[in-house]
């Protein structure tokens, strides 16, 4: 295989490349990101730029250390996308070093140590998010009430710089818990679900995303639009998002029906936290999800179920990152066992036998 001349076909190639794939994913993320930047203001933009920038720098450094060609690998856009996805899951007013630390963890530890693009077992953005959440629980769970860019009570540009790069979170008054965090705390205090939900959950607001939450996770509407675009461009298939949402909503509906006082209903699960972002953009990460349709269905269903389990019974209000990482670990196993049926063979891999032949064989 050392020859430079390729002798095998095909001698044509579709207009497809890794950088195109990554660029389309970024394009799909753009509306939700812009929305996040708009409603959370300058600090969100600062955090976003710092996170993406440091991801790219970290990638370049690693490639140089590994002796790989820097420019072609950087141009594939995977590092920028990892940084982008990570930024979307961070609290919008988090200080700059959260973004930088996250990007370093994502690129250096979760991606390059495994061998670079395509080799990582776990979704780099989720590894970083989980590491940050465990290490810096305060910074990672302090959310702000939307302060739209250029509105009167929003921080100005300089103030934004101060929030991101200076003393950090300035005013306690603007901080708020996310819907899921609030519900978790209140239920922990034995407050009935209705009462707990009332101040923080409104269907329409949650759908549109004008609420406290991570930088790019809040607007279910815009994320679903982005996801639909990815489906349309055939970057992802429907299997993972649908399986994931169906399993999460199925479990949520079941338990809400059993214990309406303690278990939030399916809409809360769907429209709060990272459900939609996770289903369309994170669980569908090409590298870390199974490659066959059946495998993807199982993977998605597993993610959905784990999200529900973690949200309902574990210590964290949000379980998306954990759930996806746990299923990432199962991906090689799923790919090993759930293979497509080969043409001309049955599921066991034996050549097909038709009735007529069987009769004549007997």
């Amino acid at each position: 295989m050392t020859g430079t001349i390729l002798v095998s076909g095909p001698h044509a190639h579709g207009a497809i490349s890794v950088s195109r794939t990554m660029a389309l994913v970024m394009l799909a993320l753009l509306p939700a990101t812009l929305f996040g930047v708009c409603i959370y203001g300058w600090p969100a933009l600062n955090l976003f730029l710092v996170t993406v920038g440091s991801a790219i720098i970290a990638e370049a450094g690693c490639l140089k250390l590994a002796g790989k060609p820097v420019s072609p690998y950087l141009k594939d856009g995977s590092a920028a996308l990892t940084g982008w996805l990570l930024a979307m899951t961070l609290p919008p007013w988090a200080p700059w070093w959260i973004g930088v630390t996250g990007s370093l963890i994502a690129i250096v530890i979760a991606k390059q140590v495994f061998g670079g693009i395509g080799q990582n077992l776990f979704n780099p953005a989720m590894v970083a998010r989980v590491a940050l959440l465990i290490t810096f629980p305060l910074e990672m769970t302090t959310f702000v009430i939307p302060k739209p860019l250029l509105s009167s009570d929003a921080p100005g540009f300089l103030q934004g710089l101060a929030i991101s790069f200076g003393s950090g979170f300035p005013v306690d008054a603007v901080s708020s818990a996310s819907t899921l965090g609030h519900v978790k705390t209140e239920i922990g205090r034995h407050v009935p679900l209705d009462t707990a939900l009332a101040p923080v959950f409104d269907k329409l607001t949650s759908f549109l995303g004008y609420m406290p939450g991570s930088l790019g996770e809040t607007s279910a509407l815009l994320i679903v639009l982005g996801g639909a675009y990815l489906l349309f461009r055939r970057i992802i298939t429907w299997h993972i998002p649908v399986a994931m949402i169906v399993s999460l909503l199925g479990l949520a509906t079941l338990f809400h029906w059993i214990g309406p006082e303690t278990y939030p209903g399916p809409l809360v699960h769907l429209l709060s936290g990272a459900t939609v972002l996770g289903a369309f953009f994170i669980a569908t990460d090409l590298v870390t999800s199974p490659v066959t349709p059946r495998g993807q269905l199982l993977f998605g269903a597993g993610c959905g179920a784990l999200v529900f389990v973690i949200r309902s019974w574990a210590g964290y209000p949000e379980g998306m990152a954990f759930a996806i990482m746990l299923m990432n670990a199962l991906t090689p196993l799923i790919d090993h066992y759930l293979r497509p049926r080969v043409y001309g063979r049955d599921r066991k891999g034996e050549p097909l036998v038709y009735e007529q032949e069987r009769e004549s064989a007997q």
Partner: protein, 489 residues
Amino acid sequence: MKLFKISGGVHPDDCKALTAKSAIETLPLPALLHIPLQQHIGSPAAPVVRRGDQVLKGQLLAHSQGMISAPVHAPTSGRVMGVGNYPAHHASGLSVRTITLKPDGKDTWVSSEAIPCDPFKLDPEEIATRVAAAGIVGMGGATFPSAVKLNLRTRYTLKTLVINGAECEPYLTCDDRLMQEHTAEVIDGIRIMAHALGVEKIIIGIENNKPDAQLAMETEALNYPEVSIARLPTRYPMGSEKHLVQTLTGLETPARGLTADIGVVVHNVATALAVHDALRHGRPLLSRVVTVSGGAVREPKNLRVLIGTPVDDLLSYCGGFTSTPARLISGGPMMGQILPSTRVPVVKGSNGVLALTGKEMASDTPMPCIRCASCVRACPCGLVPLEMANFARAGDLEGSVGFGLMDCIACGSCAYVCPSNIPLVQYFNYAKGELTARQRTEHKQLETKRLAELRSDRIEKQKQAKREALAKRKQAAKAQQQEAAEAEA
């Protein structure tokens, strides 16, 4: 007509507009013809002419030998310049036994032995024999001797003859033009083959990107109720025999089996025309239609070319190159082979000569796999190409086989859609070749071991025989001594 879905496949730009409207032109007689003795799957033909012999058009140059083989005939009259080695129409660039013929320009036919008659009054065996004698092989590119396939009726219960007019490879339009320009002859050839096979039903599959051919064939088929035309969706690899049959019947050919296992035999459009010529006019296979196309060719054309014509002649007839082609290919861009030079001759299986520009090939440096599963979705055989390539690259051929290596038809759909430009088919070909080599070595070792064991057995037996003979002699001597002693006493 009800069609069934096949899984996978891709939609490459078909680029057929370059030649779809160009009527077939006959290439002028070339200065020299190089006719390889192996233009088919099976054993090479054995030459019956020698250097200096004067031959007539259609005269036998080499006869078939063995069960699976095909003869070759003189494409025109002239003098045999030699029987030697000449670069083959093959990516390897290796030489094969080839008869070189210098045309005398008269193009005189040999007097035909087989008297043309109504083929429908002939026995199926006789038709197969004549097809074999005419040197007809699968002209879609597979080059399997057609007569062998016509004889399948003896071993299988056949119901349907499927004619492959899908021509799913981009650029190629030779079958498209044949169906439009020789509609009646093609249909006649098809009906003769159906008669030979003893089947009642004939389906001609034509992709929807050839509406003119569909219409022409449909109009002609109106005269024959047993012939129907299927309008196939345009999707590569629709022309893969097994997938075409699945599209038409909904049945998958069992792994390692033939389409005959499900009662279907598939032949190509150009083969049908050759059968018509052989049976109606007693003419062996001497020429074929070749599409000369690609962005680097000045005037792309469809040409009727004598077997053995150097590819050079085809290209210069088409005005040569507009720019140095990035790749010269025999066949289509998806499964075609690289041609090492333009000296090589056209053979029975050459359906296209393509000179592609770098832009058309759109190949790029391979990057690591991102597991995007595009290849899994594109694979028409339900394989996991990315895993097969991973295992092949790591040298774990068994692992590669586990993900379906031996079921791969090398259609190239996976590599076509790979965003990382990984040469997947290259890996598979390497792995298949390596596996064959290993099996051969293993077989050789087993055989050596068996022979060695036989030898030691034989030697052991000889020793045993010697020992026994010695013992017998000793006994006999003892008995004699005893007798003598007794006698003395």
